[in-house]
Symmetry: C2
């Protein structure tokens, strides 16, 4: 059984973060503070945001939720962002995506002060990440890096296939794992919808990051024995046997692959748990940056 | 003979740029203006800078050279950069690298206003490039993109091997050719000093970008028949038969490969000629951005 117990790993990391926050506030300092901006009532977004707030509470981190009706305008939202940029009591904040159609996410993300952009979505942070400068890494790639470090994996010279070229997962993790860094130095191939021979490319890989958003896309006959597979997909599929009529699955056929892989992350209870750790780590880093001077 | 006649291509592009500048200044507008900041007397740097100035002259673009003694301090150079950031008569400027050892290139590059960073080295530009937003692309990757567009190459689904992971060539071109873009959509593998089986990786590639800085590293038996090879290397090697005792060679064994390749760029007279086109294109774009409002 090669299932990576991400639940236990993330629990241990949370506990360490809780201790770190305790030390930061010892002596009367205020706690780190994360704000979340949310628009509308997308149920998945509500669940994500409330989970972030709950985790902040657990760890002794302050949080605030700015929840707006769908009718909010672009300019009003820009004002909210500018106020948070200037608010000395807020170390970092996130704009929960997706936004309603009348709002342009990209131009709104550009309004966030890169020093408070704990989601790591601002181009200034993305560029620093790609160039190996200190930066807030986007949550999912950062979560994978944390797992690699935790497991002590040496990817130097190993073949990595990244499946999916999104701006928030595939592209940044392909850059990070290529870089000259303790978690990097891998030979990375970035696969996507236009790639040919995906099966052969995956079969040649020592490590696979599956982030393509297609339920159970990666089959058992597409991976080599001993592969390490980070499954980023979170896909809801129908399942008449489930109480709710549906269940979550990843981008890999977990049950078929788990005995062939050296390690594979499950869905749910996998990479998703690491993204919240990343966000908290970025928030604590933003707090430290604020309190340096 | 599969040598790509980059000299002719770049000549045609220069001619088109000259016409474009003529139209921009018609009606009495000032010409676009590029400034170059240079420190010390590195002969290669002097040659590069004087070539840039000469090309500006040819095309009707204004230029100015700020040449400082090696003794200039970090703070003095920051002042120069800040003055150029504010100078409305300068559309874009470059800081010629390398700098003397007592100056930190990275922190100085960060002082350049991204809107005037026509070398595309600022993290804000790098991040925008990686995210597919309008940005100044770094000169060499931009030059390769321009060649791909000029040749009408369709890389969609093609296998590309990028050899070398530098911040100014290998990493950015690997990102660009992966992106969903007319010049992109390729399946890119980024190879570097820690990669294993480089020969096999190169043999599988339809397109190779060689940017590793090792003279004639890519041999004839490392490429497939019909390969397209962009040689970015500019290496000086001893050659007793040459008047100067040395000559320039690329990262690929040009003479051995040229009959096997579909296309290969020579050195000298190859990608190097495209980088100046890129810089001029970025300068003209900066000028247009300045004159929009």
């Amino acid at each position: 059984m090669a299932e990576l117990n991400v639940r236990a790993i993330s629990k241990g990391m949370k506990s360490a973060l809780k201790d770190e926050v305790k030390q930061l506030v010892a002596g009367g300092n205020r706690a780190p503070h994360l704000a979340a901006v949310m628009v509308g009532n997308n149920p998945a977004s509500k669940a994500y945001v409330s989970n972030k707030v709950k985790t902040c509470d657990e760890l002794g981190i302050g949080s605030s939720l700015y929840h707006f009706d769908e009718s909010i305008t672009h300019d009003e939202l820009v004002d909210v962002i500018h106020r948070l940029n200037k608010d000395n009591g807020v170390d970092g904040f996130i704009l929960q995506l997706p936004l309603p159609d009348h709002l342009d996410s990209q131009s709104l993300l550009m309004e966030i002060d890169p020093l408070k952009d704990v989601d790591g979505f601002h181009p200034a942070n993305f560029g620093k990440m790609a160039l190996g400068l200190p930066a807030f890494l986007p949550a999912t790639p950062f979560g994978i890096v944390l797992l690699i470090e935790y497991l002590g994996l040496d990817l130097s010279g190993k073949k990595v296939a990244v499946l999916g070229r999104s701006d928030i997962v595939g592209t940044p993790i392909s850059i990070l794992l290529s870089r000259k860094a303790p978690y990097g130095n891998a030979t990375v191939t970035l696969l996507h919808s236009r790639s040919k021979n995906i099966r052969e490319e995956l079969l040649a890989a020592d490590v696979i990051v599956a982030a393509i958003g297609i339920p159970s896309f990666v089959k058992e006959d597409m991976v080599k024995s001993g592969v390490i597979l980070f499954d980023v997909g979170i896909n809801r599929i129908e399942d008449p046997s489930a109480k709710s009529g549906s269940r979550l699955v990843g981008d890999a056929d977990f049950n078929a692959i788990k005995d062939k892989a050296a390690w594979i992350t499950p869905v749910p209870g996998g990479i998703g748990l690491m993204t919240i750790i990343s966000l908290i780590k970025n928030t604590i880093q933003a707090y430290k940056n604020n309190h340096k001077g």
